[in-house]
Amino acid sequence: MRAVFYLIAIWTAASGLLAISRRNMIHCALALISFFGGIAALLFTLHADFLGAVQILIYVGAISVLILFALMVTQDASRLGDRTAPFSRGKWTGWILGALVFGMLGYGLNFLESSPSPNAASILPVAEIGRLLVTRQAVPFLAMALLLTAALVGSAAVAIEEPSDDAQDP
């Protein structure tokens, strides 16, 4: 069990590092899909089967396709493998800041007071979640439905082609 966890951990971290460090954008997107898959596997090891399935459906399925689609739409075929300057000027600040945050979080984890053992629940209670969604969490659930509708309409409105003639204006 522990070995499986470490395998998944290395897999996920390596995919994440690849996704932010490859120069070719398509490679980044493919590494990202593998990263999402690793997260889903982590959720399965935590016995949150439902969330793992949701992760696969939404991230590995939908968001990956969305990102690949956006990549294809916004780059000329000749620039897809563009290797010139993929990192910003302040990249070293970014790397150092990332390492610093990881160091701080890892240091803080040393002060974890107790090391609890996993609870006896063998699996995530999906029926309970469904019940909560229509009782105690009904208001956030409806708000979420509203938000998703607004996001759908909004993104269509933003991305739609306007026939105005100042589109040529750089």
């Binding site: 971290a13 949150a48 956006a70 916004t74 993929p86 910003s88 090391s115 609870n119 269509a156």
Partner: protein, 102 residues
């Protein structure tokens, strides 16, 4: 079964990778991708706390569900904005979209 500490450390590492990506990459899509990676790392944290805490307290799991929905909406709107920006500026690099810059 790995300990809670290991899960939290892994989530911290994934979060830091996402943060570094958001700060170092030039391409708008990769910045969005890095933000998604940070959200995913936070989700692992929440589920780990559910697993190692009280199984009846499903609040963390609900938060993950809502978080995934918000992340989906964010990705859709962000990529729509990216397409609009690309049509307008013919570029998808953050530094070249500088019309509002003083």
């Amino acid at each position: 079964m790995p300990s809670l500490h290991e899960y939290l450390l892994l989530a911290a590492a994934l979060f830091s990778i996402g943060l570094a990506g958001a700060l170092t990459r030039r391409h708008i899509i990769l910045v969005l991708v890095s933000i998604e990676m940070m959200l995913n790392a936070a989700n692992v944290n929440l589920v780990a706390f559910w697993r190692y805490g009280n199984p009846a307290a499903t609040d963390g799991v609900m938060l993950v569900l809502f978080g995934i929905a918000i992340a989906g909406a964010e990705a859709a709107v962000g990529l729509a904005l990216l397409i609009a920006i690309y049509r307008r500026f013919r570029t998808s690099r953050i530094e070249e979209v500088a019309r509002l810059k003083g």
